[in-house]
Symmetry: C2
Subunit: 117 residues, 2 copies
Amino acid sequence: MSSRRDLSFINGVPELLILRLLSRREMYGYELVSAIRVATGDVISVGEGCVYPILHTMEKNRLLGCRRVQKDGRGRLYYRLTEKGRKRLNQTSSHWQRISQAINSVLGDNDAAIART
Amino acid sequence: MSSRRDLSFINGVPELLILRLLSRREMYGYELVSAIRVATGDVISVGEGCVYPILHTMEKNRLLGCRRVQKDGRGRLYYRLTEKGRKRLNQTSSHWQRISQAINSVLGDNDAAIART
DNA sequence: TTGCATTACCTCAACCCTTGAGGTATACAC
DNA sequence: GTGTATACCTCAAGGGTTGAGGTAATGCAA
């Protein structure tokens, strides 16, 4: 009825977090899903249905490299950042900072900003 | 071909900003569109096609009240926060803080890799 | 007075991301 | 042997934003 459910604010965030986590060490998809939960103290949790497509697209765009590692008879696909991916992380990271700081300035501003209009 | 365009990070943000701006003083839709641009120093800009539906839904949900004011022969629809809307602002605001702090903690978690080329 | 920009309201399809459910297959414990 | 965990994958549905479009009144310039 209300449309507009609780706002999640996480649009685009999974990709940023994945870039950041992979900048530390290579990881595989299933690992990333729980790593995101752990790294954010359970604040952010994304499903596999979100993570895998991001990995595939990023690899297609040469932001990530991938290698298969055999483990207990099963294959894991380890992803790592390419140089291009590292650049993307910097860009996306600054973009996030610009946006979030802008939002915080509006939230924290108790009377200015509008007065200057 | 790449799907996934540049991440905007603004999903849900318009609603938060509108709540915050209306908590300072009543405003009309067209005014909010430029107020968001000004308040964020041109970092965030949302279209009317985004703002108006949000206002309508929020009013339907009793988060906003509305009154028509005649100005130069044209009618303006001024929106203001209800008590319920003020509560929603607090909730949404804390939610934003939780999320953004979680993201920043992951981004800032040191291991190098961020600032350096 | 015709034309254009601005104000001010509105709607809608297309786009894109995430959710959540579903599917496959192996390994290990009970 | 049945369940749980690992590990990969896909897809429809849901929902928010974009960008284009529409209406109408005002005011200003050519």
